[in-house]
Symmetry: C2
Subunit: 209 residues, 2 copies
């Protein structure tokens, strides 16, 4: 019965169109400034149609967000990750920061906005939990292999995560000219990663700086 299949495919097409249009509009203007009517205009459907595919604006934003998490995962995992756990952490940090700075509006929603959806985000296998697990594994290896001092793995993972998150969050919140007194220094991402790693390493001379 290919007919119902075509119907489903068409329905899925509309859903995709909505998601894509919403994704672009959110990134361009920030999700708070994008109206359902604007999304509807972009795909040349009536606003009501969106509500047949998504329960609410929040649900639409959440769906876009989950797609973003998969893109983040892809960005961070692209190319072979270094086998050396410390090098791997460096690479993960750089990829994470690059994604956030390149997609500030999505990053803002993913990591800087409250939302009930985050209740589902920490389930094992969900993209956010998955990305965290990649970092955590690297930290555990770094401890096992004697690069990091032995410590609470989650605590250290969170120190690393919050460090790089802080850089991204500040840079995308304060436009260069809005930084107190001085714009964000070029190399802030690198400097933050190196300082934090340096503080965690057993043998800091390994840090390049």
């Amino acid at each position: 019965m290919g007919i119902t299949e075509r119907r489903e495919r068409e329905k899925e097409d509309v859903r995709r169109k909505i998601l894509d249009a919403a994704h672009d509009l959110f990134e361009a203007h920030g999700y708070e400034n994008v109206t359902m009517r604007a999304v509807a205009d972009a795909i040349e459907y009536s606003p009501t149609t969106i509500y047949h595919h998504f329960a609410s604006k929040d649900a639409l934003v959440e769906a876009v967000c989950f797609a973003d998490f998969e893109q983040l995962s892809a960005t961070m995992n692209q190319g072979p990750l270094p086998a050396h756990p410390v090098e791997r952490i460096r690479a993960l940090g750089r990829g994470y920061a690059a994604f956030g700075i390149a997609n500030p509006n999505h990053y803002r929603f993913m990591f800087m906005t409250e939302g009930d959806w985050k209740n589902h985000a920490n389930q094992e296998g969900a993209p956010p939990a998955q990305s965290y697990a990649v970092l955590r594994d690297a930290v555990m290896e770094a401890m096992d292999q004697g690069f990091f001092r032995k410590d609470d793995v989650d605590l250290v993972s969170q120190v690393l995560w919050s460090g790089i998150h802080g850089v991204v969050a500040l840079v995308i919140t304060f436009k260069p000219r809005q930084f107190p007194q001085v714009p964000p220094r070029p190399g802030l991402v690198e400097a933050s990663i190196e300082a934090t790693l340096n503080g965690l390493l057993v043998d800091p001379k390994e840090a390049v700086r």
Copy 2:
């Protein structure tokens, strides 16, 4: 002429009432969820009255925000700050984090939201620039006295700031149960400060951890 003075005082009273009510409502519900009508209700005036004291909701939020910055300054400067520059950085970080975690909704607006007002925030003497200057001075001293490796003072200040900002931002964005896989570890603030300091110190053995 005491009459116009009384008039001015009364007007100032209303302005204060608006600011206070807005402050409390913003902290309780987040500024996006607080309507002008709700603020008006709280002070038992009509919504229009607010517009005689503040040009717009944005202007009101900005005014509340500037008051918050002064409170942050006060929180960070309360008690005599340690003379030892590294100890001082530690104390500043703790105070900063304590303020952010205790006032998440205000912190969110101060450091996690875009706004044109931030264009005025980096002027010398403005509270945000002032707070940054306190940190920067401590960093410079730490370098001059040989505790930190000599480096770009602003770069290092921003590494420290972004590190502690990342912790606060994550903790107030992800409610404990929403953290990927695990809740934020107790002691995350301390661990982050120590790791970053440790990474910047010439002689890391000074770090306690």
